[in-house]
Symmetry: C2
Subunit: 307 residues, 2 copies
């Protein structure tokens, strides 16, 4: 494969240069994802089509961007982290397919399009999700730009972020606890396991690939954890204001207990601010105060403005 | 953890010694599986219970045995391969949970007990399956008895055996093609991807962990591929004779096209013989003609006798 990220070695600090780098990275992720997914020659073609449908839907590729920008922040050639970055998008897409299933959120729409089980069928959607999760592990295991030690470390963290203390448990907690009143601590745990945990793994992966020292890997993980919590509460604030323009199916979320319903919108907004401040402090501790920070906090501002 | 396999260094060649070693290995797998799975302190406990229910149901642990016996055949201390062996059982259990789902085979019984989605609920069953697959990768990635290179190689093969050319595609082919007449080649591909592919990975893993030469790894893989095909056709022959004592739900299988319906029972039985002969030849080529061979072919004879 020709290197999609070459020629990005010199970055200016201005906003325009930032956008160009971001857009270049995002496009590189989209191109590489298309290469890494099974194509229509696979058997059965329907399964490959469902996997491509779920992953290649328009999106900001936030988790891959965390990996690439963190790797860049610590001095790695971003290409080195491209396949690992794509692996996180596959896991994210798999988790969305599962969340939307009839036995879970029973959602008809996702990002303004039919959910995968509606566009295809339930069995195909489940198998596509399992195939994508599996492919994420396979892509990292086969990535010869990484050392064997880096691959083993990344795969271990990926597994931790998905498993019985990660995304899978987050979704199960969410489903099992819907009828109970949740404490703010329960809600933080749920929010972290439902979404933040994969952001943490994605950011840490970039630092690991760049060979950052352990304290910096941890600090970047804390940044992502706080950012994930801030995003989730912000989403809940937006949902509470019922933004009808969103393509997201709001029905089931509305019945959930969130930090907004538990604490009220004012305290929830204060929690967002506290998480963002802690996220920024963690980045400073890691000495990673460049484009990664501008991208992450910029994205947050853009979401708030859009709401 | 105390070493569950110590004291097995001296093996006799008699049948009684064989059984003792087999039973010791099987018990070691069961104990280690119980350790590697989330326990009831996990949140939510229901998810952990479903995962344990699916994996720890009584079984012969055929895939782990392939890994352990192959590792032993090539001179490895079997303990070295114990966690990898357990990982294959987790993947197998995950695949059974998924096959049984309402959107797939809609089975009520498995190994004579309620299927996981019947015993718990559908969402919990799906999440347990995804968690188990993920845990299999995590267990190998975290196995410090293996070199980083061995871990990366095993994880890559595991992913290949599960993914869009492995178990996941086998299940999708099975579901999508039910209304079509299948050619014998289609049926072989389906049989291989539905079950054989994981046996191949399990056997190859044992050889890889033992540091066997690549030609021996391949030969052991061919042995497992042929054995898997032989088992599947044998199962179809048994199903065709409608063995009512089996705890397996036969409803959907009966509607499928198998090699038995495509070729007739006599030619199907001949295909079983040809696969077994090729399996034996592959083992001879690998110089692996000890307990592994006696176990695998003995199991086959026992199944035939039971039918």
């Amino acid at each position: 494969m020709p290197c999609p990220l070459r020629g990005t070695a010199r970055y200016g600090k201005g906003m325009e240069d930032d956008s160009a780098v971001i857009e270049q990275f995002r496009a590189a992720v989209d191109r590489r994802l298309a290469d890494l997914l099974p194509d229509r020659t696979a058997r059965p073609a329907r399964l490959a089509e469902a996997a491509r449908y779920a992953v290649l839907s328009p999106g900001k590729r936030f988790r891959p961007m965390l990996t690439l920008l963190t790797a860049r922040e610590f001095g790695a050639e971003p290409l080195t982290a491209l396949d690992a970055a794509c692996a996180f998008e596959m896991v994210h897409a798999a988790s969305l397919i599962l969340d939307d299933l009839p036995s879970m959120d029973d959602a008809a729409l996702r990002r303004g399009r039919a959910t995968t089980h509606r566009e295809f069928d339930e069995a195909t959607a489940i198998l596509a999700a399992v195939g994508l999760l599996n492919q994420a592990f396979g892509v990292i295991a086969a990535d010869e730009r990484l050392t064997d030690a880096a691959r083993a470390a990344l795969l271990r963290r990926l597994s931790d972020s998905v498993g019985f203390e990660g995304l899978v448990s987050g979704q199960a907690l969410d489903l099992n606890d819907r009828d109970h009143v949740r404490t703010p601590d329960d809600i933080d745990l749920l929010n972290h396991r439902k979404t933040g945990v994969l952001m943490v793994a994605a950011a840490e992966a970039g630092a690991l690939i760049a060979g950052a020292p352990p304290a910096s890997v941890d600090a970047v993980g804390e940044f992502a954890r706080r950012l994930g919590l801030a995003f989730q509460i912000q989403d809940d604030l937006i949902d509470a204001a019922v933004i009808a323009e969103s393509g997201k199916d709001l029905g089931k979320d509305a019945a959930m207990t969130t930090l907004v319903t538990a604490l009220g919108p004012q305290e929830a907004a204060a929690a967002v601010g506290a998480h963002l401040a802690a996220a920024g402090a963690a980045l400073s501790e890691a000495g990673a105060t460049g484009l990664l920070a501008r991208y992450a906090f910029g994205l947050f501002e853009a979401r708030k403005a859009a709401a």
